[in-house]
Amino acid sequence: MTRLTRRLVCIAAAAALSACSSLGGGDYGFSDYSLVRVRPVSVGDHSMIVTPPRPWNRHRPIFFEDIRQVEDWTQNGPLLDGISFVTGLKNGKSLIRQRRSANQQVPLFRSNMTPPEIAAMIESLYRVRGGAVDFRTLSLKPRPFLGTNGFQLDYEHLDDDELWRRGRVVGTVINGQLYMILLDAAKSHYFDATLRDFEAIVASARLKA
């Protein structure tokens, strides 16, 4: 969708529903927060089940950036912290909806990608769409995930709002599809404050039988 079209959709929707405003997250367009309780919940396209150790907020934008295999959670709002789930992203798809005509593109996922290639794809996501002007890989190492030989990527990035953020991704490719859980939060306080939850969620993750 072009920027103009988005805008028109927004204006039209505002006229109809008087609802084109920020809904909790400060984002334009429609978005929807709902409570995630402390119990097993299915995420993304519902193929993955996780159990959070405390309540979280599911953030599901209805327009713009959502794709079915990706789901976002937050504690303090997406600018401060967030956990994202990628559940079975298929070959040739990207982590975020994008226009084909955009000059800068988040690279597409390929089934035969190695962890360094997936890490590079994540880096470009932050640079192209997240406003990162500096991105540092802190570590990339093997880590079991969902019963497979997965990987763990740790990184930090300086964004153009002059804030350093830190992230951790645990992921794996199963049957040519990408599964990941990502934590991304302000480096100061918020990353450490949510890391334990993230680790518990990763440890609880399983695929639906």
Partner: protein, 408 residues
């Protein structure tokens, strides 16, 4: 997906202000401004005397404080001192009054603020082939200050519209306008707001060109490099747009600049006019590369990872006109790898293989060479490449993964 992606979309939606401001300046191209007609309108140590300009300076001092304290700046003293020397060389009578900051933003841009401080984006350093080109851009920016364009533009803007005020600018209100001017990934609110306020008319841009090229030639730089800069930048924008099947968007620095065709012709005419027979003009390429060299991998990394294959490929090939090396071949491979279209894997493999044949191949070239060998099933050779990578970069962040691959 990433928390800020949505935020950036929101800001982009709010970007109408800058577009409105830009629209005020569309007009017909002016006749060429001749360099010999350009004299500086200020002398050394200029301070404003009019009330409105004094007010503008006071606010701008606060803005400079913000800019100087930003953690987006590259503060490597070798490079910042180099920029200071350059602006002092081509800055005319105000040479000693300028300040210059280098922002870590992967885009071609440079700007002069009303009080005589300039901000250069790191993406500019990537794109310049030699010191003369960089000096040309800086001389152009200095030309705006020497010709007092800021206050002229400001007064003109105030006359035309009330949509902006210094107070709102200083408060950062309307910072969203940055989205329209700087591109989606650059949202440095204060800079963006200010940029939207100081859009110069085409006539002013032509004046800055003429003033700049005059000062540049006087300092012994080859004035022909000034038109080469525009040729490179237009070429890059066209390559990027063509790649996506679009027409070139005249955004960013091109917004109000004179139509580029006439501009290049004018600059070439200026250069011929300014060239004094028998005088030696230099482009100081070696000195430029020696200074920028240490951060060139960073600059290439910033550009290539934006996955804008048309632009990145153009930039790399432009730089390679001065000779291919391991660094450029490696990043050529990165362009293909990130583009990831059918056949690109093979192209990337070939570039990595070519890169590691050069003595200056970066460690990462060995890593990606190893990964591509691994994917081709050439395990033994891959292990050799990984060993070389770890030897060059023993504390590599992905050493654990690479060791596992090398051992498997």
């Amino acid at each position: 997906m990433c928390g800020r992606c949505l935020e950036l979309t929101r800001r982009s939606l709010l970007g109408g202000g800058a577009i409105a401001a830009a629209a005020l300046h569309t007009g017909v191209a002016e006749a060429r401004v001749r360099p010999q007609d350009m004299v500086p309108l200020i002398g050394p140590g200029f301070r404003p005397t009019d009330t409105d300009e004094k007010g503008l300076w006071k606010e701008m001092d606060r803005v400079e404080e913000e800019v100087a304290g930003s953690n987006l700046l590259i503060t490597d003293p070798k490079i910042t001192n180099y920029l200071k020397t350059l602006i002092a060389t081509v800055g005319g009578p105000a040479a000693q009054d300028f300040r210059i900051y280098l922002a870590h933003i992967p885009d071609f841009n440079a700007m002069m603020f009303p009080t005589g401080f300039a901000v250069v984006f790191s993406g500019l350093l990537l794109r310049m082939r030699n010191e003369a080109q960089l000096a040309g851009v800086i001389a152009h920016e200095a030309g705006h200050f020497l010709r007092r364009h800021m206050i002229r533009s400001w007064r003109d803007e105030k006359r035309k519209t009330d949509i902006f005020s210094i107070a709102s600018m200083a408060a950062g209100i309307g910072g969203a306008a940055a989205g329209a001017y700087l591109g989606d990934y650059v949202q440095l609110a204060e800079l963006g707001t200010i940029l939207s306020l100081f859009k110069y008319s085409r006539e002013m841009e032509a004046e800055a060109d003429a003033m700049g090229i005059k000062n540049m030639a006087a300092a012994g730089y080859d004035p022909m490099e000034m038109s080469n800069i525009w040729q490179q930048l237009i070429g890059e924008e066209e390559a990027s747009a063509r790649y996506r099947g679009k027409h070139r968007h005249k955004g960013g620095i091109f917004d109000t600049h004179p139509s580029e065709g006439s501009r290049m012709v004018d600059l070439r005419a200026d250069a011929i006019e300014l060239t004094v027979p028998g005088k030696k003009y230099e482009n100081y390429r070696e000195r430029y590369l020696a200074t920028i060299g240490p951060i060139r991998p960073l600059l290439l990394d910033d550009q290539v990872k934006l996955n804008d294959p048309g632009a990145s490929q153009y930039v790399i090939e432009t730089l390679a006109q001065d000779g291919w090396n391991g660094l450029l071949r490696f990043y050529e491979g990165e362009v293909w790898r990130l583009r990831n279209r059918p056949g690109d894997e093979v192209r990337a493999e070939q570039s990595y293989a070519a890169a590691v044949a050069y003595p200056d191949a970066p460690a990462d070239a060995w890593r990606w060479h190893g990964i591509s060998l691994l994917k081709q099933g050439r395990t033994g050779e891959a292990k050799g490449a990984f060993a070389r990578y770890l030897q060059m970069k023993p504390d590599a962040p992905d050493a654990a993964w690479v060791r596992q691959m090398a051992a498997s």
